[in-house]
């Protein structure tokens, strides 16, 4: 094969995000296997030092600098990527399955009429066609998809699917690409970033977390979980559904959109373990998971699993520790 894999670098607040190098790890692996060059695409303003960091993992780094590209804006990114892809016709264009990539790539696919596969965890090429692995139905089913033949594909890669390696034995060249004329903008404006509000407690610094998920059932049950957490000197945290219901503040949420934690002990109660949650806690020293569903994805990363009713287990444990 000839051609290239184009990887959209992701940066925010003056830093390249890990997903950038995760994609480059995946792209280099594919590139080596199939003789495809790896091209990084850096969109930004006044941050060429960041673009330079990509050269160790790319054959070529394309840099487009413009004040309009200082912060991510779908309007501008779409025009920029449309131009680069039409110009270079990469075999595969890769973005992160992140708040940024998810905000661009479906619109880009519709604009370019290109085949798109989002949220991929593995990518391969067989007989010139793209094959991808996705996790569907809440991570309970693996779907291996073979795409139809095409000269060009678009994908978004799930975060954490590959190691983020900044040094990949390459020394790519930097190449400036011209800024498109910003016509046909649709009037979207970036206003500001909002960091998390003041937190009642920092779950990131807790040694032990008792974390509750959808299985908690109703807000009245939070007290039972708090009681258990207190009995072992733990801090209470939660997965997304509990924060969505506002049963606990957002600052207690573990996961990609919440906090990444690494306590000595993480006790997951009634948490199924969506990958977004796993990404926020899988590096905990020890993980105990309690769930009624033996097929819950949380058991794939837990060290100890208990297939039982979380309330029964919680009550027994609270009794044991309060007694002392």
């Amino acid at each position: 094969m000839t051609g290239e894999i184009l990887v959209l670098a992701e940066q925010r607040g003056g830093e390249l995000r890990d997903i950038t190098f995760e994609m480059l790890t995946s792209a280099n692996k594919l590139g080596n296997e199939h003789g495809l060059a790896v091209t990084g695409l850096f969109l930004g303003h006044g941050s060429s030092d960041l673009a330079r960091k990509l050269t160790h993992a790319c054959d070529t780094v394309l840099v487009m600098e413009d004040p309009e590209l200082a912060n991510y804006n779908a309007d501008h990114y779409l025009i920029a990527m449309d131009q680069v892809i039409k110009d270079r016709k990469p075999f595969l264009t890769m973005v992160g399955n992140t708040s940024m990539g998810m905000d661009i790539v479906p619109a880009l696919a519709a604009r370019l009429s290109l085949p798109l596969a989002t949220d991929c965890v593995e990518v391969s090429i067989a007989e010139g066609r793209l094959e991808i692995l996705r996790q569907i139905y809440g991570g309970k089913i693996n779907a291996k998809l073979t795409m139809k033949p095409s000269d060009q594909y678009l994908i978004s890669l799930r975060t954490g699917s590959f190691d983020a390696e900044a040094e990949q034995g390459k020394s790519g060249s930097l190449e400036t690409v011209p800024t498109p004329s910003w016509t046909k903008l649709r009037g979207r404006k970036f206003l500001t970033y909002l960091e998390a509000a003041l937190e009642d407690v920092d779950i990131g610094s807790a040694d032990i977390l008792v974390s509750i998920g959808r299985g908690i059932g109703k807000p009245e049950n939070i007290l039972l979980a708090q009681e258990f957490a207190d009995s072992i000197g733990a801090t209470l945290s939660c997965s997304r559904p509990v924060a969505d219901e506002q049963w606990l503040p957002k600052s207690r949420q573990v996961g990609t959109s919440g906090k990444t934690v690494r306590p000595r002990l993480y006790i997951a109660l009634g948490i199924s373990g969506a990958y977004q949650h796993q990404a926020g806690m899988k590096n905990s020293d020890t993980i105990i998971a309690v769930n009624t569903d033996p097929k819950a994805p949380i058991f794939n990363i837990a060290h100890y699993g208990i297939v039982a009713d979380m309330f029964e287990v919680m009550q027994k444990l609270t009794e044991k520790f309060v007694e002392k």
Binding site: T98, S99, M102, P106, A107, A109, A110, L116, T118, D119, R129, R134, I136, Y137, K140, I141, N142, A143, K144, L145, T146, M147, K148, R186, R188, K189, F190, L191, T192, Y193, L194, D207, I208, D230, I232, A234, R240, P241, A243, D244, Q246, T256, S257, G258, K259, R264, T286, I288, A289, D293, K295, F299, N300, H303, I306, A308, V313, K316, K320, F321
Partner: protein, 263 residues
């Protein structure tokens, strides 16, 4: 404020026992419970709240079979005024571009200020239809929306980013938003409420009426050639503690003590 909200019927997957057929081509859905896709229920709620605040009409649209009228009735019971069902005949094995083209044919002639979809669905979770629609409609958009403010014909949307960070973006109207969970608390609708909604007629249409060809939707229009489904091995990482609850709890208590859990 006229709002179109796209909904879909989706299976409950969290507690579901999933099975794949022998050939690995299909998920056996006979025993699954279907409901309005979780993300879509937030989208409907937000549409109805905006209607209550600013006036206007809410139109719910789905692509699905007759059973999927349940989710339209749910939307109507929550406060939507109209419902349109695009019959799924012909859409089987469509990818997101096919579904987006179907919805586009319906909404292109509607007048609206906002179009909402859920950010993704609980089954395949491609997360594509909303933004493809925006592109086909040539409208400004924002995805993963967790907050909305409207003033002077402009909308400020809060997008959910990573690590407890949000982004504020401004959009002129009309616009397309994909809604993230947690934006609001979707209202509960009673069986009575859904019964009442039965009085509202559901408009029906289909690919032929919408002028869609086989090349655009269904398997021919899809970017996917074939799929092989499998159930990942469960609990490959965890040492499963077994025994009676008392026994299990004692083992767990030991681990907790070893790891420094004390009062």
């Amino acid at each position: 404020m006229d709002i179109v909200v796209c909904v879909k019927q989706a299976p409950e997957v969290i507690d579901a026992e999933l099975e794949v057929n022998k050939e690995g081509k299909e998920i056996i859905t006979d025993d699954l419970e279907f409901d309005i896709n979780e993300w879509d229920s937030y989208a409907v709620e937000e549409a109805v709240r905006l209607k209550e605040a600013f006036g206007g009409r809410v139109t719910a649209i789905t692509v699905g079979n007759e059973d999927s009228e349940d989710v339209l009735r749910q939307a109507l019971a929550m406060g939507a005024d109209e419902a349109i069902r695009v019959d799924e005949e012909g859409f089987d094995l469509s990818d997101a571009q096919g579904i987006a083209k179907g919805i586009f044919q319906v909404v292109k002639d509607l007048s609206f200020d906002l179009l909402f979809t859920g950010a993704q669905s609980s089954d395949y979770g491609w997360g594509q239809v909303g933004l493809m629609l925006a592109e086909l409609l040539d409208l400004p958009y924002a995805s993963l929306v967790v907050g909305i403010e409207i003033a002077d014909n402009k909308l400020v949307a809060l997008r959910e980013l990573e690590s407890n960070t949000q982004e504020k973006v401004e959009l002129p109207l009309p616009a397309v938003l994909t809604i993230q969970t947690g934006l609001n608390s979707p209202r509960y609708v009673s069986i009575m409420g859904i019964q009442k909604a039965r009085k509202i007629g559901i408009k029906e249409t289909g690919p032929d009426e919408l002028g869609l060809t086989e090349e655009e939707i269904g398997p021919k229009g899809s970017a996917v050639d074939s799929q092989l489904l499998s159930i990942p091995p469960a609990g490959e990482g965890a040492e499963i503690l077994t025994g009676a609850v008392e026994e299990i709890s004692e083992k767990a208590a030991q681990i907790i003590r070893e790891k420094g859990g004390v009062l």
